[in-house]
């Protein structure tokens, strides 16, 4: 299935990161246009795909993960230890027929993303 999905995981605690706001944008005429803001569910995923299959288009897309608020709301986190700063992932959909799963793994001081499946 084509489209874009994400998954937010808290690798510090070894569990999905629930309640993280994700801003999903597309590059249009050199500017990032917000398509939607969603919040991760209990499984760290979004209830619906960020970009459903019937809207899949080639282009440059952006995910902004608002993990700062998530970490601050998490019990036992020292704000001084938060190094990553609301990470932004920019990626190209180069073939609209493919699916792009873009997971992110985070801890207060580390961030990882990749093309998943």
């Amino acid at each position: 299935m084509a489209g874009i999905t994400t998954h937010v995981l808290d690798t510090d605690r070894g569990r999905p990161a629930a309640g993280v706001r994700v801003d999903f944008s597309v590059l249009e005429d050199g500017r990032w246009r917000l398509i939607k803001s969603v919040v991760t569910n209990a499984d760290g995923r979004t209830d619906a795909p960020l970009l459903p299959a019937d809207q899949a288009r080639t282009g440059q897309y952006q995910l902004e993960f608002h993990v700062d608020a998530y970490f601050k709301a998490r019990s036992g986190t020292d704000e001084a230890d938060i190094f990553i700063d609301d990470p932004v992932v920019r990626f190209a959909v180069f073939d609209a027929k493919q699916h792009y799963h873009v997971p992110m793994l985070c801890a207060p001081s580390s961030f990882t993303t990749y093309r998943g499946s």
Binding site: F83, D86, V88, F91, A92, F94, F111, T112
Partner: protein, 174 residues
């Protein structure tokens, strides 16, 4: 036929013709005192150096680009450093990594090392193009923004970035 060897020959040619020299001149490598990476080995930044310990050095921001596709330092990576100022990021400098994947000088040190919210944009697609890696066009990753905070200018901050054409990882190192 040894396809791998064939590819390295092509890579060496492309390096001599345009590759890392162009990357270095695009940045401020000369101004930074980074050795011009002409005559580089066929593979990017062949690993001949031992790890570097920065323990005990004064507060500063340093980085290390590591190419997990080739298993080498990320040499010749163009990186734009900027600081959040109001609604946008204000450019500070553009640097190019040396053959060991580090910058010749700290990204920030002394009076320039301030608390704040920073962004380091790494030219990942250009980097792999320089080494002749065949990728989709545009590639999944183009220019990769790395966002982080310096919360205490009395501490030393090291920013390692591990990257491939399909993903990356960064963390507060040491």
């Amino acid at each position: 036929m040894d396809h791998a060897a064939d590819r390295y020959v092509l890579t060496r040619r492309s390096l001599v013709a345009t590759g890392l020299g162009a990357a270095a001149s695009a940045g401020t490598a000369l101004a930074q005192g980074v050795p011009a990476p002409t005559g580089s080995p066929a593979k990017p930044g062949t690993l001949t150096t031992a790890p570097v310990s920065q323990s005990g050095l004064s507060p500063r921001l340093t980085m290390h680009a590591i190419d997990n596709f080739h298993g080498t330092p990320g040499a010749g990576m163009v990186c734009d450093l900027a600081m959040l100022d109001g609604d946008g990021y204000r450019p500070i400098k553009t640097v190019t990594t040396a053959p060991n994947g580090r910058t010749a000088e700290p990204l920030l040190v002394d009076d320039a090392f301030k608390t704040g919210r920073y962004e380091l944009v790494m030219h990942v697609e250009d980097y792999f193009a320089t080494f002749g890696v065949k990728l989709p066009s545009p590639n999944f990753l183009g220019r990769v923004p790395i966002r982080f905070r310096i919360r205490d200018a009395g501490q030393r901050y090291h920013l390692p970035v591990l990257f491939t054409p399909w993903g990356y990882s960064y963390y507060r190192g040491s």
